[in-house]
């Protein structure tokens, strides 16, 4: 097992402590409102102080819409049970390994010696920690001292860690088909392209949950609800600058294009960035870095 920047760090160093817990009887409508308001991808269901019963994600909400469940359905009917847990003193490496082996995107931290949930950890939280690490490193791209001298550090580029398989569909396709594709995909969003394969917009699971709540018709064309323009970056951009853009603009992903501005060649998400498990330049390489492959 290689040593990386996250070695020795614990879940409690990166976990978010703001927790939203729905009652099992709360409705899907209420759940969507909380997902949007608090910008989270999943919410626990259970009772405060007790071990949660399940977790409801945006994917579960999409499934509910596709199954034509009314918004008044209790979340208990669609939640995944039980949620997966970790402890605040578990290492971040072990938490990442648990997420990877179970193909899940978040873990909930139970207080030592009790069943009370005191935090949640997801890939973007780990990116936050890595970004913090880079910004305090002398080799950091945005370090003030670096501005005065030529940057000689070899940095990870977006194309080195991006996901090259990009799901896309045509802008006139029915929303129902988009829901089908996204339900079967591990991606949180799909690229919408025109007849020339030019990126026109993006439909995320968040957009779909909102459509459900707003009573949107599943037969409308994708272009009527897509978000545009598409947030893009270049293949040759340093990973650190892509992470900064995502953090500042509150985006989970950037679609990647080559310098000559042809069709989209990949997508980089905060999840991809977390796979680095280290800082984003090769200065880390000699002693610490370990790129976690897909």
């Amino acid at each position: 097992m290689g040593k990386d920047t996250l070695t020795e760090l614990k879940v409690r160093h990166a976990m978010r402590k703001q927790l939203i817990v729905l009652g099992p009887d709360d409705t899907i409508d209420c759940c969507i409102q909380y997902l949007i308001k608090y910008k989270v991808n999943a919410i626990l269901a259970g009772r405060y102080g007790e071990k949660p019963l399940g977790v409801v994600s945006k994917t579960d909400i999409m499934g509910a819409w596709y199954s034509e469940l009314p918004l008044s359905t209790p979340v208990e009917m669609i939640m995944n049970s039980p949620p997966l847990f970790c402890r605040p003193d578990d290492t971040l490496d072990s938490a990442l390994n648990t997420m990877k082996s179970n193909k899940i995107y978040r873990l909930y931290a139970l207080e030592e010696g009790s069943n009370a949930v005191i935090g949640a950890i997801a890939y973007p939280d780990i990116v936050g920690l890595l970004y913090h690490y880079c910004s305090h490193c002398d080799q950091g791209l945005f370090n003030k001292r670096k501005e005065m001298e030529q940057d000689r550090v070899k940095r990870y580029k977006v194309h080195e860690i991006m996901t090259k398989k990009v799901e896309s569909c045509q802008e006139d396709i029915a929303l129902e088909s988009v829901v089908e594709i996204l339900s079967a995909s591990r991606f949180g969003a799909i690229l919408i392209v025109d007849n020339d394969n030019y990126p026109r917009g993006v439909i995320s699971k968040t957009d779909i949950t909102l459509c459900y709540r707003h009573g949107q018709d599943l037969s409308v064309p994708a272009k009527t609800i897509m978000s545009s323009p598409v947030a893009l970056c270049y293949e040759q951009n340093p990973v650190e600058s892509a992470i900064k853009s995502m953090i500042i603009e509150d985006l989970h992903r950037l679609f990647v294009i080559p310098e000559n501005r042809q069709a989209v060649s990949g997508v980089i998400s905060l999840t991809d960035a977390a796979r680095l498990r280290s800082g984003s330049c090769h200065a880390c390489i000699s002693s610490r870095i370990r790129v976690d492959k897909n």
Binding site: Q33, Y131, R213, I247
Partner: protein, 153 residues
């Protein structure tokens, strides 16, 4: 003499519907001044006037706040100028009902002023809707309540 919510409540207030665009709420926050003061919370009602929730300055700010703000301390070149306009693209598909606070505590016109104050302090709220027969009839602002008490000092 018993002093109640109806003695201090503002009876001139704007309301929004759950399916109103967020831009409408922002416009009210930006331009509307009721009783000579800027408002920071607007009641959201259904067609019959029943309260569905409340949208406050806090709800909008919560949405503006980037999710990973805890590491912003490391980023020195954040552009605050025009941040609301930049975020407008994300807000355009949202309705007031998507980010409002749905479970709102309310009082009746006959609720004693000290009970109103007790709720405001314990629940950390600065305004309370006043409801009569299921319909919103006014709003008690903590500043009006304070001024009312000062005048009777």
């Amino acid at each position: 003499m018993k002093t109640t919510a109806k003695d201090v409540m503002a009876t001139s207030f704007k309301t929004l519907r759950p399916d109103s665009p967020i831009s409408e709420a922002l416009e009210i926050f930006k331009t509307s001044k009721l009783d000579g003061k800027t408002i920071f919370g607007i009641m959201v009602t259904d067609k019959g006037g029943s309260i569905e929730g409340m949208i406050s300055m806090y709800d909008v700010l919560l949405f503006l706040l980037p999710k990973h703000v805890k590491i912003w301390g490391n980023i020195s070149d954040i552009e605050i100028e025009g941040i609301i306009d930049r975020i407008a693209g994300k807000l355009k598909n949202l309705f007031v009902g998507d980010i409002m606070t749905p479970k709102v505590i309310s009082v009746t016109p006959d609720t004693h002023l000290m009970m109103v104050l007790d709720i405001m302090i314990k629940k950390h709220v600065r305004r309370l809707p006043v409801v009569s027969n299921g319909e919103a009839v006014g709003m008690v602002y903590i500043s009006d309540l304070f001024n009312h008490l000062l005048e009777r000092a």
